[in-house]
């Protein structure tokens, strides 16, 4: 009888059918059929357990043992937004609060001929040809339960279209806010970015929580980078202790295009990031940088994939982490080089500093190479701070704590310096220094 006895999956499935029942004609639309199919998959599979190899080290038991209010009301005002502002950050700044695109809070500065930004549900109506061509091409419900769940509830989120040849001079910053002040909240933001030939754009996703209750964010982003286009994509997570985040980004790049990404997990109770890049063209390049600092009992899991499908392309990946207290980290980096993808260059490296005997880091590089003329390398290291360096610094009068902070900061700097939106990089430098000096 009471809601507590109903598990999260049942509750979500029930919600879906309740909403469908009041949909009238729209329930027959092609888009709704996709959603219904996704729901079927989710209903069938349920949430993953550690028996699923992809979720071996990331147990969602705690995440699914709570209820969340999805797409609920919130009381996020201009004032609240002001308190979250990043100094000197200008550009197209969008707010998605509890999964809803808040146009009133958002600012778009780029001219419409350079950049089209819409809530996804509007794009479905206004740009059906684009949505039906691209939506779900990369994020397949059958491959992952969280993607199926997100697809079943896909409604709001950000649609971005950059027409051919346009260079968007202002970055697009999408701020996902979970307002968990009143109750546990959940959201399934769904983003679709289409960047046409020769176009260029910088996009950042930033995640924040306000309030003390739990939040569950299940984001799916699909990014299509056409010939000779250039996309920079940043993801910054600075959520609360009780925040659960599952975020999946799929990217397809084709001939001569560039995709450049950095994923920075500053804070959050449970974080799982999937970043899958299809290199489906020649002479294209993908860069993946990552940085994470779990402390307390936080968990951060990064799964990445560089899927080389055509010859002569390049991917380079560097993930770094500092783990403290009882935190846990996972890095699973796959490189596929398909038979056709001769002359591929693919590099991967994951380096970790584990500062506490109770913290653990699991790393698993996976290389599957079916072409014979390729250059691939991978390496992972997990260790402590360099004792020699610490002593050297202390012998010059620098306290142990300060020396550790300097060394950790230096360790992170390789990744931080890759963030090319100045205001975001400077903001991160501040937050990272603060986090590293804490305790």
């Amino acid at each position: 009888m009471s809601t507590e006895t109903i598990d999260l999956k049942t509750r979500l499935v029930t919600d879906f059918y309740a909403r469908e029942a009041v949909m009238n004609g729209e329930a027959q639309s092609e888009f709704h059929q996709t959603k219904r199919q996704a729901l079927g998959i989710f209903e069938d599979r349920g949430f993953p357990t550690p028996r699923n190899e992809e979720w071996k080290y990331s147990n969602v038991r705690d995440l699914i043992s709570h209820q969340y209010q999805f797409a609920g009301e919130h009381a996020v005002t201009e004032e609240v937004i002001d308190s979250l502002r990043i100094a000197n950050l200008t550009g197209n700044i969008l707010y998605i609060v509890n999964g809803r695109f808040e146009e009133k809070l958002s600012t778009i500065v780029s001219p419409a001929d350079q950049l089209q930004i819409k809530p996804l549900h509007e794009a479905i109506k206004e740009r059906p040809e684009l949505v039906s061509t691209y939506f779900g091409q990369l994020a397949k419900s059958e491959s992952d339960s969280f993607t199926a769940l997100n697809t079943a509830f896909a409604h709001d989120g950000v649609f971005i279209h950059v027409p051919a040849g346009k260079v968007v001079d202002h970055p697009v910053i999408i701020r996902f806010i979970s307002d968990a002040r009143a109750e546990n909240v959940g959201s399934n933001p769904r983003n679709l970015f289409i960047v046409e030939q020769n176009a260029q754009v910088k996009i950042a996703e930033s995640y924040r929580t306000i309030g003390e209750e739990r939040s569950f964010t299940n984001t799916v982003t699909e990014i299509f980078v056409a010939e000779s286009a250039n996309v920079e994509y940043y993801k910054v997570q600075n959520e609360a202790e009780k925040a659960y985040h599952v975020g999946t980004t799929h990217v397809r790049i084709v001939d001569n295009s560039h995709f450049y990404s950095a994923t920075v997990s500053l804070n959050g109770g449970f974080i799982r990031n999937n970043l899958n890049i299809e290199l489906d063209g020649q002479h294209c390049e993908a860069f993946m940088y990552g940085l994470y600092f779990p402390d307390g009992k936080q968990h951060v899991d990064n799964h990445t994939l560089a899927d080389h499908r055509k010859p002569n392309s390049y991917s380079n990946e560097l993930y770094k982490g500092v783990l403290r207290d009882r935190s846990t980290g996972v890095f699973n980096g796959k490189i596929f080089v398909r038979q056709d993808a001769q002359k591929t260059n693919a590099y991967q490296s994951c380096k970790n500093v584990v500062l506490s005997p109770d913290a653990t880091m699991n790393t698993k590089p996976q290389l599957e190479i079916y072409a014979d003329d390729v250059k691939c390398s991978h390496g992972t290291t997990t260790g402590q701070l360099d004792e020699e360096a610490l002593f050297y610094m202390r012998s010059r009068g620098i306290s142990k704590n300060e020396a550790m902070t300097l060394l950790m900061y230096a360790f992170c700097e390789d990744v931080v310096s890759q963030i090319k939106i100045d205001a975001i990089r400077e903001h991160l430098e501040g937050v990272i220094t603060e986090k590293l000096t804490k305790k």
């Binding site: 360096a389 002593f391 050297y392 202390r394 012998s395 009068g397 620098i398 142990k400």
Partner: protein, 254 residues
């Protein structure tokens, strides 16, 4: 200033220093020589506070305080400086940033206000000039990719900036070309004042031509087995260590 009394230290259960006695007074320069592996760097490291070494006996007093009780950074703030035999490379931390942190942490310990950026830069430029250190090295990551000589020069430069009471130079001459040797020695000599003291660890007399010591000590198998005036260094250069080893063996045989 520095009083070492029967100091014993070991690493991984192996005793390296087997009862060192040494007194250094303000204004003095002491040279420590001795065969490879005799414990010279160990002594230097123990004085600087390297934690891997376990002090198993004896005492060290520095300016009237118990040195062995202090953390390495406190020793530095109290005025001890070790120029490393093998300076450490620290990627990602620039020399200038590192030194600024060091200077201001020491000033904080001494109850002084931090130097502002302009004051600090001015001071650093002067000191860099004094040891002929190229400004471009200051902006690079600490010792990363520095040549052997550049690393040694960087040690002396740091010493010039930190102005220690007691500087311990561990084979700062090795890896230096003749010009660098002269410049580094001049740097050391400029810092020579009646209040400051220096311990120079070296294998070569030629350094002592520039930095003329008041005393020369021979460290062998963890003990100071011979001490003498600066002429002792010349004798060692000429005759090697065999005669000293023979003397020691004869004594222990008794």
């Amino acid at each position: 200033m520095l009083k070492i009394n029967d100091l014993r230290a070991s690493i991984e259960g192996k005793e390296i220093l087997k009862g060192i006695n040494l007194e250094v007074k303000p204004g003095e320069v002491h040279a420590i020589m001795g065969p490879n592996g005799s414990g010279k760097s160990t002594l230097a490291s123990v004085l600087a506070g390297r934690e891997e070494y376990e002090v198993t006996g004896g005492a060290v007093e520095f300016s009237g305080k118990d040195l062995l009780e202090m953390a390495p950074e406190v020793r530095a703030a109290e005025g001890i400086f070790l120029a490393f035999q093998y300076p450490v490379e620290i990627p990602g931390v620039t020399t200038i940033n590192f030194l600024k942190t060091a200077v201001n942490e020491i000033r904080k310990y001494q109850g002084l206000d931090p130097l502002d950026a302009a004051q600090f830069l001015k001071m650093v430029r002067e000191k860099a000039k004094m040891v002929n250190m190229n400004d471009s090295l200051l902006k690079r990551a600490l010792n990363e990719g520095f040549s052997g000589g550049e690393k040694k020069r960087n040690e002396i430069f740091q010493m010039a900036v930190l102005e220690p009471k007691l500087a311990i130079l561990d084979e700062t001459d090795s890896g230096l070309d003749i010009d660098a040797l002269r410049i580094v020695s001049e740097g050391v000599n400029k810092l020579r004042t009646p209040e400051r003291a220096t311990i120079v660890v070296t294998h070569y007399q030629r350094l002592l031509d520039y930095i003329v010591p008041d005393y020369v000590h021979v460290l062998y198998k963890g003990r100071i087995v011979k001490s003498g005036p600066k002429e002792l260094a010349l004798e060692l250069e000429e005759k090697g260590y065999d005669w000293i080893k023979a003397e020691v063996e004869a004594e222990t045989a008794q």
